[in-house]
Amino acid sequence: SRISIAIHGGAGTLLKGEMTKEKEQAYRTVLRQALESGYEILEKKGSSLDAVEQAVVIMEDSPLFNAGKGSVFTASGKHEMDAAIMEGKNLNAGAVSLITGIKNPIVLARTVLEKSDHILLAGQGAMDFARLHGFDFKKPEYFYDEYRHEQWNKIKGTENFQLDHTSSKDDKFG
């Protein structure tokens, strides 16, 4: 079969007019890195499951995207992350939710798929499972990002929450 990989870096992150040439180049560099690292696994006859995990790990390790290191702030000033992974061969899946301090949530989701009889683990229980399987936990400073903090400051203390994009309803179909 033709080997293929596609990635996305979410919806939004920078507001209109904030995308400078330098930032655009930075985004393109990480997107390309993620793409190439996943594709290389496919080229070497590796599995699609390994390829998608690796591509997501590259993007989780970058502060530019709202996942892993670049996660946004919650109302209580923490970083709560979710992740899921699934393979089409046998419908095996693994997912984690409401986890904090984990450098690569997608790797924990894969561990749930491979080393538990469950599919979705959440909150403290998911973190206990991570500790059981030798995951190390990052300090909050690892997840700190000035831009994300500013995003949060603008709506901190209000009832508002913000997705990573300004949702505009006039048809931006593509």
């Binding site: 079969s1 033709r2 080997i3 990989i5 596609a6 990635i7 996305h8 979410g10 919806a11 939004g12 992150t13 920078l14 655009e24 997107l31 793409l35 190439e36 996943g38 599995s47 699609s48 390829a51 998608v52 591509a55 997501v56 989780e60 709202n66 670049g70 996660s71 946004v72 702030f73 919650t74 709560e80 992350m81 979710d82 992740a83 899921a84 699934m86 393979e87 089409g88 419908l91 899946a93 997912a95 939710s97 997608i106 989701a109 599919i119 909150g123 949060w152 709506i155 901190k156 209000t158 913000q162 997705l163 990573d164 994009h165 300004t166 949702s167 309803k169 048809d171 931006k172 179909f173």
Partner: protein
């Protein structure tokens, strides 16, 4: 949110998605990402899907599995099924966002209905593409 979908040499599909959620979120709010069949899904008989957008609407529309069902039950192809969901069904309930999907022949579709999209694709038959909308 970040995500990836892939088809390997054996035609096996996989999908992975990871997110930091919403800025200033409260009450243990969970979006579509960790819910299999909503923000992330893979089935060798149809497609692998990874979504990004307003999670609440993706949950109401059960987006990822919806794409797979349209292929399985209505015999739509990947492009038709993904466009039906992102251009018609999701906007109907005021939902916004996008997805990336691949089928077991290695075709890729990446529709969206809102701004601020970061995408990339590479296959053994096409050029590498990285694009920002």
């Amino acid at each position: 949110t970040v995500g990836a979908v892939a088809c390997d040499r054996n035609g096996n599909l996989a999908a992975a998605t990871s997110t930091g959620g919403m800025t200033n979120k409260n009450w243990g709010r969970i979006g579509d990402t960790p819910i299999i069949g909503v923000g992330n899904y893979a089935n060798n008989n149809t497609c692998a899907v990874s979504c990004t957008g307003s999670g609440e609407f993706f949950m109401k529309a059960v987006v990822a599995y919806d794409v797979s069902c349209l292929m399985e039950y209505k015999n739509l192809n990947l492009k038709e099924a993904t466009r039906e969901v992102i251009f018609k069904r999701l906007p109907k309930i005021k939902g916004d966002g996008g997805l990336i999907a691949v089928d077991s022949r290695g075709n890729i579709s990446m529709p969206f209905n809102t701004e601020g999209m970061y995408r990339g694709m590479k296959t053994s038959k096409t050029e590498t593409m990285v694009a920002i909308y």
